[in-house]
Every structure is written in C-alpha cells, then in structure tokens.
C-alpha cells in the first residue's frame, strides 16, 4: 500500500573547489556517514541506496556499482539516476518512490559531484546533439544567458537587481559553513566582476564545487521511531521540456516553461492559493542571479515583473517574509549531482530548525525545494513539518 515518506537523516560535506585528500568514494562516504549519524542509524538499517550524478564529470560508467564499498550498497537494493542538473532532486524523488511504493521502509539517497577531476564546461557541452549544435554550445552558460536577457527585456529588471540577489546569497553563504564561496560581497564588488558570457559576469554564475549530500528517507511507520523531527515529503512534481527547452516565445505563442507548469500543478493539488503566505522558505536551484528572480515569477510565487521587486524590498532575504536560498543556494555552491539533493536537505534543515547560523527568522512549517537542468527541466518538492 502507498506509504507516506519522511526525511529522517541529513548529511553533507564541506563544499570547496578541490578535495585532493579524498577520492570519489571517500567524498560520498563522508556525506553518508554524516546522514546515518544524524538519523542515529547504521548501514544495516538501510534497505536500498539511490545515487545519481552525471557520469562524464568523473569519467566513471556505472559508478553506482563501482562505488558500492563507500555508498554501503553492497548486498542491498538500489540503482542510479541521471537527469542532468535535476538529478539531485530526482534522487530524492526516486527515494520517495522506493519507499512510497511499499517495496522498502528505509532508503539512503546520495547526490554527489567531484568537479576538480575534469573541465566542467567541456563536460556540459556534451549534452548537445553531436551533428547539429554541439560545436556551438558553451556549456550551461548559453541557456542561462538567454533566460537572463529574456527576463530583463520582459520585466525591466536591471543588472543591479541581479547584483542584489548575489549580495544576499553571499550574506547567507557567509553564515553557512558548508557552502563553497562564502565571502561577503557588496553590490559594487559584484558589478565590477569580469564578464563571462553577456549579460552574466563571474559573480552572476555559480562556482564549480566538490561535494556530496546524503539523506535517509523512511516510511511513516519507521520515521516516527527513528526521529522526533521527521520532515515529510508531502508532494513532488517533475516536468521536463523537449529539446528546444521553450527558451524562445515566438509571436502568437504564449510563454510556458516547465517551472510554470510544475508550480501550477503542485500548488493546485495541494490547495495552496497564496504560496508566498503558505510557504515559509524556498531552497530554489538558482544557478544564476537573474533566474532566481525570473523563476520566482514562473513558479507562481509572485506575479510577472514582481520578482526583482521582492528582492528590492528584501522579502527574499534570510530574515525576510519569503526567504529564498538561505543556504546561499547554487549561486554559492554547485557540485551539480549534489546541488538538487542539497536543496531538499537545506529546506528540511530549515523545517527542523537545525540550520544553525543561516536558520531563517520565520517559523517554518512548509518549504519548497526545486531542481533545474537538462533542456529546461524542473523538479519541485513540497516538504512539511507535519502530515496534515
């Protein structure tokens, strides 16, 4: 019978640009050990292991099988996910399916990436079709640049607003010991950074990090025995786009992105009419300063053109009314396979009140976590403190 699923254990590594002291498996094992300790469980209590990342970043084919010593999966069930940037959130969703299906009661979910082993942009370029557009792809920057320019022309958002978003992220990351880029930046510092791909300068883009994040999921029956602070995965929705990714809206077409469809679906079926009121924190997958504002609108948190106004008014700050990415977000930490899992983990920490220095000031009952990747793909998860 379908079971309800809760996050009962959370663990992550410190994220940095290089980890010469550990190999891939040992990096993963750090996060796994932390998650098991957080849940006060041992590997014996885990029935299935779900792991996900993109193989070419480390050059390992079938790396779920290769790293069983470190993931603890030997003798257990499990398999590997791979859906691009959304693989982190998809790992958690896959873990949800493993437990909700009734086949398992406990599941260890692992997201990881070690970007210090290969040139990241070169790897991302291989997501394209070799015959048609691979020679003209500039990693993930091209897509983000288009969305950013599109947002500016559509809503009058200024470069200064993106700088505010990045300044806010740096303020949050400085309070998060596990974040990668943690130095506080002023709007002026940010606007002075060198241009990478117009209109995105260095600070408007995310770093490439090394890190892993693991969460332990449990069925309702087990969860209440394991922890007094279960975080319930109330609902999730996955919306992918076709290869064109709906990046452009031609005359006569109405703009509809996967984020818009995901937000609409999730809020409708959970009877959320005013998300900005009914949800207290959003750990969004924000790989670029502009898109954080654009996607607040697309997800339906606010109306068209209001994204950058919320930032201006400080609504999305850690102590604001609707805090976005209090952990510093992907803007300050991006190990691609780990980022999505990290968003869910950080949202859960906020619900448990265990986020330490970067805990938001509001009392959190319901949180959102999102994943972005592929050709404009979306995962959106709704987490809550209670089951009702």
């Amino acid at each position: 019978m379908p079971q309800r699923v809760a996050i009962v254990g959370i663990g992550q590594t410190r994220h940095t640009s290089r980890r010469p002291d550990v190999n891939d498996g040992e990096l993963i094992n750090e996060a796994v050990s932390a998650a098991l300790a957080d849940a006060q469980l041992t590997m014996k209590d885990i029935e299935t292991v779900i792991i996900g990342n993109m193989e070419f970043f480390e050059g390992h084919h079938l790396n779920d099988a290769m790293l069983v010593d470190y993931t603890g999966a030997r003798g257990k069930s499990g398999f590997k996910m791979n859906t691009g940037g959304t693989v982190g959130t998809m790992n958690v969703i896959s873990g949800w399916y493993n437990v909700a299906s009734g086949l398992f009661d406990t599941c260890l979910v692992i997201g990881w990436e070690k970007h210090d082993e290969a040139p990241t942009t070169s790897c991302i370029t291989t997501i394209t079709d070799p015959a048609i557009d691979r020679p003209y792809a500039v990693g993930a920057l091209s897509g983000l640049a288009i969305i950013s320019m599109n947002y500016m022309t559509r809503t009058g958002c200024k470069v200064e607003h993106a700088a505010m978003v990045r300044a806010q992220a740096s303020e949050n990351a400085s309070r998060n010991p596990n974040a990668h880029v943690r130095d506080r930046l002023s709007v002026e510092d940010i606007l002075k950074a060198r241009m990478v791909v117009y209109p995105l300068n260095l600070y408007f883009l995310c770093p490439t990090s090394v890190g892993a994040c693991a969460t332990v999921l449990a069925s309702e029956v087990k969860a209440n025995k394991i922890t007094k602070k279960p975080v319930w995965i109330k609902d999730h929705v996955t919306v992918h786009s076709d290869y064109s990714g709906a990046l452009f809206t031609f005359p006569g077409e109405t703009r509809e992105t996967s984020h818009m469809v995901a937000g609409r679906k999730l809020f409708q079926r959970n009877h959320i009419t005013k998300p900005i009121r009914e949800i207290q924190v959003f750990e969004m997958y924000d790989p670029c300063a502009f898109v954080q504002m654009s996607w607040l609108e697309d997800f339906g948190i606010c109306g068209e053109g209001e994204g950058w106004r919320l930032v201006e008014k400080g609504v999305t700050a850690r102590e604001g009314e609707f805090p976005v990415c209090p952990s510093g977000g992907v803007l300050c930490t991006n190990a691609i396979g780990d980022s999505g899992t990290l968003r869910v983990a950080e949202a859960a920490l906020q619900i448990r009140g265990d986020a330490g220095e970067h805990q938001v000031t509001r009392d959190v009952k319901t949180a959102l976590a999102s994943g972005y990747g592929g050709s404009y793909w979306t995962d959106l998860l709704l987490l809550s403190k209670t089951l009702d």
Binding site: T125, T126, P130, I132, P135, D242, F248
Partner: protein, 160 residues
Amino acid sequence: MQQKTTDELITQEMLLKIPYRWAAGEYVGEFLRELRHSGRIYANKCPKCGRFRCPPAPVCSRCHTRMEEREKWVEVGPRGTLLAFFVAEQSFLVPTTGDMLEIPFSVGVIWPDGAPVALWHKLEETNPDKIKVGMRVEAVFKPEEQRQANIFDILYFKTV
C-alpha cells in the same frame, strides 16, 4: 609496520578518448544533404498544431503527430533575425576534438525567415558591441565542392 606518516597525496592523470560514429537519422541526414546539394536550410511543420522544427523531425514534440511528407519541407533563411548571442572570451577544451576553443568565438541563435525556429550557429562578428539582439544576419555557405553534408557546410552567419 612503523607508521611513517606520509602526507603525500597522489593524483593520477588519465586521458579518456572514446571514438564515436553518431547516426544522424533520416531527417537530420536529409537536412545535412540539402546543405551540401542545394545550400538551403529546411524545416518541417506539424500538420496538426503547426509547430515548426529545424532541423526537420519525424514527429511533433508537442502533439506527437507524425510529419513524414518530404515534399512538405519548408525552406527557411538564409537570412534571419538574431534571437540571442554569446561571445566566449574564455577558451575551454572542445570535447569532440580535444583542442582548445579558438577565441574569441561568438555563437548566435538565429530565427531564420520563414519559420519560428531557433538555429544555433557561429557568428562571423566577434565584437560584442557590434552584435545586437534583433539584428539581421545571413548564412554564408562553403563553396559547393568543399561541402561534406555536415553542419559546418554553413561557415557562419554574417551581419547584414
């Protein structure tokens, strides 16, 4: 065994080289043959919902209607409007060849006249100040005898 505390951390370098022969498929194949023979760019249109695809595709990605009539292909371009562009000032390793990207390298997303589609290709102009979204561009083809039915048969899009 005496524990000589060695803190030397070993890193090992490995170059991965995998050869591929990617099948283009009938539709992209015919699109590339047309680049070689006629120097024309083709798209096709979904008979049901009217959505265009360039290069042409066997099925509409929005309503899954088959688009199999070759005669219904629509010639687009060679001129078009620039939807977006990037000028890469920082080189990176091109995974298909293993060489470093020659920079500056500018890429445009072109809306060719005749169909609402987005085609990614190289721009001749690499000075970002001289490139504006919305400006007119035109495909420049290689001389016919040098064409090999691949996407490089279009050298680049020049500013018009």
